[in-house]
Symmetry: C2
Subunit: 397 residues, 2 copies
């Protein structure tokens, strides 16, 4: 059993704050400061260039990949970290297209995170007019999987509502139609159990600064199914994906397996902070995290609906149909969220009217939920959001 | 005048080490540790998601870009940091090709850093058989600039020999032939004065972990000439390059100017370490750095040639023709470099026979050079490199 009291004690959370935005940026692991300090002083400072070997920096992208892999049902040696999620989406879609060269359609849905669509669009524009990015409603995806489609690009958990796609069923349907799949796990990794291997997924990508708590701008990850890894031609063919980077050959030869999905020099300071976060994840079992997450979200919905009748649930009511977040619609959601934040309850707002709350059992418990809903009820019942100050929109991530 | 004694005191260099490998990975600025610690604890830890605005994280990529821009003759607002150099090469070449749609040839030279060629090759392969990466000898570049060429992709300073291309003359010749230029400044930024604006350069890219001392895996940068910025269609069209990232529109609309070259979420911890390094650079004048670098390299060549006759100069003898590094050829260069490193003189080795030394006036002075050459002379004159231990090749960056 995962000891959630123990994991909660491993995070540095500000006094008086109930943090329900770990689906946007996870909090600071207490050990990250000392760990990064040691890396700076003892590794970069003392080892200098030799840190690449002596301190194991060069192996960090795959070592971290394997630790993340355990949480998403990936085989050892099938995940590597690096770059940003947008770049990894590009790399995955380009590689997937390359495996299906006779088809020109990338299928996605309008519940996907916009950057995934932007990156796919940028890629397809560069490939020419024959290519098409086809974007349908989330409910229409299954019906749109045809033999015309080269690549299915989906985010498993909708970033606004938390609605989940059925990865196993859609992957099966895709394969039956000769379609290669790319799954974005931004709101899945560390949020829900994922079984890439069991779902027979082809490519998957994700970020590590949300549920995985790697810190602002922490590196992304990419998964390639072992059965495809040696056939994949990486579109972003950088030197650290080369078979022999330090031979400095003029010709590119892809490295073995997942190594070829590496591109440039990895961000070692970020990866060190991520390592501190993964130390906590190493203590967690995803089925425990999921069970606890469902308890927390069920409690939250029940209490909010009982005390804040103006808020309308925007997430699926069935916990099996949603990830680890709950969204409510409210016309003045922006102002209401500002009022909540001012009182220490941090969630976020997504246009046009979504108030979004993330549930992260590693550091959020029932008491937090009760306190948060108490504050929410006060704000909603007394219209405390209705001030000019809270109505002014600012740029918020 | 730049006070090099003062800047030297701002770096943490290990006792007994003479570090002549700052062209590969710069050393740790003394202030980086506390600075990163503060960012972790006070910003990430306390501000959590609100750090993106409150702590100015979202503006860091362009703020750092402007500080780097001063060192490379770039107009304010024309440089942005992010990603890795390989990714920025891809982005620049793809954008440059897009500005020259009727031509299909990217011209480069075999003195370019291999990853630049790999990335260009990967891009062109994805665009189809009509495209060609044409790689000539460095001396043949000028003659190969024809009206068939779409993009000229060159690294200004050769990573092995330090030989420099004439950026101004080649850019002029390129423009006279309708060719768009991409300059890689990996071994230029912080090494030599660069005048992108004065050279009328189109695109430039570079990294910040070498002469700029940003730390292992520090972000790259990209420059787009202001006259081109609004016409550039970024191939890697990520959400943070969008006109309104937080509107979460489904369609991509490029942001204004250099902002559109941003892609994904920026690595804030790395950027904080880079900020510490840029605090030191803010005290430096590039013409002073260049004058001092020439003094150091001239002294080094003179003393090595006087004491180590087995070493053959591989860098241009004329200081105006080379960057801030000196390379010597020696058949047993790998073993000799291992012997030097064991004695605290850190340079590096590049196959097949190049012993490479970087000169970085911010923290290397004449006394360091005299001491380094003393040790070198001892090793060479007494064949101290000739041991089985030093002859075993390991992977070294």
């Amino acid at each position: 059993m995962t000891d959630f009291a123990a994991t909660k004690a491993m995070f540095d959370l500000p006094e008086g704050v109930i943090y329900l935005d770990g689906n946007s940026l996870g909090p600071l692991p207490k050990s990250a400061g000392a760990r990064v300090q040691r890396m700076l002083t003892d590794e970069w400072g003392q080892m200098l260039i030799t840190g690449w070997n002596k301190a194991g920096w060069m192996a960090l992208p795959t070592a971290l990949g394997d630790r993340i892999g355990r949480l998403i049902g990936a085989e050892p040696g099938s995940v590597v970290t690096g770059d940003t999620l947008s770049i990894k989406v590009y790399q995955a879609v380009a590689s997937a297209l390359d495996l299906n060269p006779d088809r020109k359609v990338v299928l996605s849905d309008n519940g996907n995170f916009p950057s995934d669509l932007y990156m796919a669009d940028g890629l397809l524009r560069s490939l020419g007019d024959a290519y098409e990015l086809r974007v349908v409603d989330p409910e229409a995806v299954a019906g749109a999987i045809t033999e015309e489609v080269a690549v299915l690009l989906l985010t498993e958990v909708d970033y606004r509502s938390g609605r989940m796609h059925d990865m196993k069923a859609l992957t099966e349907l895709a394969h039956a139609n000769g379609v290669v799949t790319v799954w974005d796990l931004a709101h899945s990794a560390g949020a829900i159990p994922v079984d890439l291997s069991g779902c027979n997924a082809d490519f998957a990508v994700g970020c590590t600064y949300k549920y995985l708590n790697g810190g602002p701008g922490a590196p992304a990850f990419i998964y390639v199914a072992p059965r495809l890894a040696e056939r994949t031609r990486p579109a972003l063919s950088g030197w650290l994906g080369h078979e022999a980077p330090f031979a400095f050959d003029l010709d590119y030869r892809p490295g073995s397996g997942i190594e070829r999905m590496r591109v440039g020099t990895p961000p070692i300071i970020q990866m060190t902070a991520l390592s501190a976060a993964m130390d906590i994840w190493d203590l967690a079992v995803m089925t425990d995290v999921r069970a606890k997450s469902i308890e927390l979200t069920e409690l939250f919905i029940e209490r909010v609906e009982a005390t804040c009748p103006d808020l309308q649930l925007a997430s699926p009511r069935d916990p099996q149909q949603r990830g680890s977040q709950i969204s409510f619609r409210f016309k003045e959601g922006y102002a209401a969220m500002q009022a909540l934040i001012a009182r220490g309850v941090i969630g976020d707002f997504r246009a046009p009217d979504i108030m979004r709350f993330g549930f992260t059992p590693l550091y959020i418990d029932e008491c937090d939920i009760e306190r948060a809903v108490g504050i929410m009820a006060d704000i909603m019942q007394n219209r405390l959001w209705d001030t000019p100050e809270y109505r002014i929109r600012q740029r918020v991530t």
